[in-house]
Symmetry: C2
Amino acid sequence: MTPSTLDALIEALRCLPGVGPKSAQRMAYHLLQRDQRGAARLAGALAKALEVLRHCARCNTFTEDEICQRCANPQRDPRLLCVVEMPSDLAMMEQTHAFKGMYYVLMGRMSPLDGIGPRELKLEKLVERATDGVVEEVILATNFTNEGEVTAHTVSELMRARGLKVSRIARGVPVGGELEHTDIGTIAQALIERRSV
Amino acid sequence: MTPSTLDALIEALRCLPGVGPKSAQRMAYHLLQRDQRGAARLAGALAKALEVLRHCARCNTFTEDEICQRCANPQRDPRLLCVVEMPSDLAMMEQTHAFKGMYYVLMGRMSPLDGIGPRELKLEKLVERATDGVVEEVILATNFTNEGEVTAHTVSELMRARGLKVSRIARGVPVGGELEHTDIGTIAQALIERRSV
């Protein structure tokens, strides 16, 4: 007896990651009962995003243009190419103000268990970008998770095979971190990757 | 440098209950990168639901008609009116096949801390429904949470003041439940509300 329009909305909400049947129901009730303006705004934002957003032809991040503003900025160093997993990682890197090169956003990570390999990640697009004749060094800034490490390894092999210099951002004890509160895996890595001073 | 359309989508997703900035960002990336069809379906389902869904004039649940199919069903007993918090509670009641009367869906619960009182719950609509001259007994089936109990208490006072018989569904040890695994509050209530056999 539940109206089919409501069922359709609940079902549609399940396309959101981490949203199961119960959450979807709760979300639908909330939107219809308490926030119809928010629901209308969401419907519009989705439609607009699907219509205008695409991938930057150079760095692969979301943009409304053929080439995003960052890639079109002549102030940035085109010899350095930093590879990150997601646009949120790029945003974190930018907040450091420590990098003035270019980026490539994978829009994901290798995950053999989920069937995401080099082809699904479209790594050939990264290879094409990195071999433009201007890029000299590829800096791997994928996460230090298992999947991020696998991704970094795969990308580094592809890059080295094409004669590019490859580097990985450093692992170690966080700035301000105390050994007592750092996991032993990190301490072990910090020891192995120690630098002479 | 994040495109504003993407920001607008992330912001719009935050109208969903339980979705903070990080989840909204993850959802937006997922929809744009991995499930554009799901995103389009969601945009359509939201727009359709906002357009066609409204509240049943009798039981207040979501429906596409002036009066929902359940309220229009002459097979149901119009002398019994069961008050529940949400449509999902109504669905649970129906699954028991133990009730053949009518329903009233509050679409919420009293929550003084959140500023949701009798007025916000539109309890005057329930009073009007219950005093149609046909309803003889109002059965309170709100949750046994603090807020559900406050709601039941408020509704029962309103109903009794109008000469209606009011009842509350029973509290106690769940069917199939073992005392060892039942919380002591429930056991205490089961003891107080014991029935002679």
